[in-house]
Amino acid sequence: MKKFVNDPDNFVAEMLEGVYLANQDKLKLVPEFNLIHRADRPANDKVSIIQGSGSGHEPAHIMAVGPGMLDAAAPGAVFAAPPVDYCYECIKAMRSDKGVLVLINNYQGDRMNWDMAVEMAEAEGIKVKAFIIDDDVAVQDSTHTVGRRGVAGNFFVIKACGAAAERGASIEELLALCEKVNGQVRTMGVALTSCTPPVKGTPIFEIGEDEMEVGVGIHGEPGRRRDKIKPADAIVDEMFDAVAHDLPFKTGDRVALMINGLGGTPVSELYVLYRRAAERCKEAGLTIARNYVGEYCTSLEMAGASLTLLRLDKELEELLAAPAEIPIRVF
């Protein structure tokens, strides 16, 4: 296993401790519940925004905790939704008179655990609301299934709500904002390699040296199909078409464009992808008001990338540009 890891069972705990040690002035850590929260929150004059999904998607979500973003995150084991207790303790710790907003990526495990936790918290009179994010266009919606997955698009929900919450938005206003962002954001990803959860110790799926997984999930779930690796531009074209036609995005739209690395792909390649995506936006008459090139929602060390488009309006553009401060810094 080509990983920096001690006892695999301690991987998440040690990562959390590392994040805490690097940000002791700003964050607090409650190890029993994998809980990382802002040292200066909760505050009763601000809605608390929290998220917890499986680990292995860093910087999502523990490294997105900070002013203008999340107030707390309570991740589970790698790729496993947090147990009910983690969710419940996270809500309780971030209790605020203005309420607690739980952002949930649309996976059955995350939903069930958070549902139970929300019920428990409400039973105690805590004001808490949950919102489900499902931006992945790879798996088609269907009444039978749980619906689309929540992937890199969750960044935009977090950022918009985080900014609005700092300005005193009510939980009802934030839920409306979630609806708006989630309704206008679409993502699709492609994997070139598999990834290995430390405890499992072996790759989550097999893939040939010349193969790619189109529409892969951020937990290594298979996507639309297995195919031969194509030139970067052809891959972008497929992701762009899937994403752009889904909403659909239309000539004249102002958009945020995100090229998100899945963990093992270097930023140099992400910019090669961005180049083509920007060309496609231009051809489609979309104006890129803001761009994001880097890692926002990963799958451990998986080599791959996802493309996200978010349709903007004045409010969103302004919220995305608002200041924020998180553990991830570039200088």
């Binding site: 499986g54 589970g76 084991a77 790698v78 790729f79 496993a80 939704a81 947090p82 147990p83 009910v84 207790d85 983690y86 996976y107 059955q108 495990g109 069930m112 655990n113 549902d115 139970m116 798996v139 088609q140 039978h144 299934t145 749980v146 997955r149 959860p197 405890v199 499992k200 072996t202 989550i204 799926f205 999930g217 937990h219 290594g220 779930e221 298979p222």
Partner: protein
């Protein structure tokens, strides 16, 4: 008399814990085929505690005991399995408060309560290729044997076989719940780890009680 004592329940749960711990890798590998490969580790995180704390668990009644199991699983198991298994044990516990022994008919009611709870929690139906496709036939088997007045051993053997059959019967189905559902048609042909787990556990319980039948799935 065909009654199941609290001692039987304890042995069965302990055997189940053994099954989960010794099959962790195998269960995770099954989950890796169409899911995300964490099923074995998730479940083991809970049953490891069950196994470790076993001697100190409240055994004043079957209900009290199963409630503890439910809480340990809810506390330690993430993913889908925590809520699913935690809810199942919880509902079964509700119907066995104060009881130190139960009849097959009462067991059937407990299993029905567990199935209902799991369905409310996760919204899965029979045929969605989840562990319910093993649990529901098992419940039906207990019902049939209870009505027929069979003894526990006979019923247990039949339950293990019913769960075992579910593995192959659902293999060709498309998963509709949990992560495997995202793979859509590609989940067809893969074994559902939850169903395999139920079958493997029942097989090992048979062995534990010396019921002549070795689990094929283990």
């Amino acid at each position: 008399m065909g009654d199941i004592t609290i001692a039987d329940v304890e042995r069965a749960v302990r055997a189940a814990a053994g099954t989960v711990l010794s099959n962790q890798q195998y269960f995770s590998d099954l989950d890796g085929v169409a899911g995300d490969g964490d099923f074995g580790a998730s479940l083991a995180a809970g049953f490891r505690v069950v196994d470790k704390d076993f001697d100190t668990l409240d055994k004043s009644s079957i209900g009290a005991f199963l409630l503890k199991i439910s809480m340990i699983i809810t506390r330690n198991v993430g993913g889908c399995s925590g809520p699913i298994w935690g809810t199942g044990f919880m509902r079964a516990a509700m119907l066995s408060k104060e009881k130190t022994s139960i009849s097959l008919a009462e067991l059937e009611q407990m299993l029905t309560a567990a199935v209902d709870g799991i369905q409310q929690r996760g919204g899965a139906q029979l045929g969605d290729k989840t562990l319910l496709d093993a649990l529901i036939p098992v419940r039906d088997t207990v019902k049939a044997h209870a009505e027929g007045g069979a003894d526990g051993a006979t019923a247990l053997k039949a339950c293990a076989e019913a769960a075992e059959e579910a593995i192959e019967r659902t293999k060709h189905l498309e998963a509709k719940r949990g992560r495997q559902s995202f793979t859509g048609e590609r989940s067809i042909g893969s074994l559902d780890p939850g169903i395999v787990a139920i079958a493997t556990i029942l097989g090992d319980i048979c062995t534990e009680f010396g019921v002549s039948r070795a689990s094929k799935a283990a």
